[in-house]
Amino acid sequence: MKKNTFYLVFGCIALALLAIFWYSVELHIPLLIEIAFIVGIVLVYLAKRKVTDMINDERDVKITEQATARTMQVFWVVFCAFSIGAVMEILHIPEFPRQASPIRPPVLLPPRMMGYIQLGLLCLMIFLYVGFRIYYAKKYGDFETDEE
């Protein structure tokens, strides 16, 4: 498969995922887009393995590795900070002195709020990865001008 054909296939899969996402929102079935997303990513990887004219050399691998590592380093801190906050919400700490009233149920974040936070985290991860990738690509000479 040629590189341009792969990009076309990738675009078609992305469009199909967008349509499935919209459909699952309409039907209120989150499982549909979750399964479709996994299938879509697997299809993209399978298609990428068939590409013959795309060279992924050691410099590309290094850029990807460095960008991924840095993204994860920043992301896990933000994710853990949020998760610790969420754990605090579900842990019930008894109050002293004990009150005669019945035990309060833990205050949970509403699902919509959780969705917004997860969306924020997802966007953060994407922006971090793109930013670090551009940084390392520049560092390892991706935007160097050619003298030939």
Partner: protein, 77 residues
């Protein structure tokens, strides 16, 4: 903090001697042209494997293409 010792190279000179373009050299050793450009500009230090491939392509020893200058270490983040 990572200490990187600068690695100089003479790929450009060897290319000129063999009348090769970056594209031709890249194709011959199985990398992108941008990688050859980055190595020539000393923006990227190739792996030992790639360094051997380049020097063997020119039919010379690795020390003739790549010069390890350990006297002037550079500190990079």
């Amino acid at each position: 903090m990572e200490i990187l010792k600068p690695m100089k190279n003479k790929i450009k000179i060897f290319r000129a001697m063999h009348n090769l373009t970056q594209e031709h050299l890249a194709q011959a050793i199985g990398v992108n042209r941008q990688t050859i450009l980055a190595i020539e500009k000393e923006k990227y230090i190739p792996s030992l494997d790639l360094a051997f491939k380049i020097s063997r392509y020119f039919g010379v020893n690795i020390e003739e293409v790549f010069i390890f200058d350990e006297k002037t270490p550079t500190i990079i983040s």
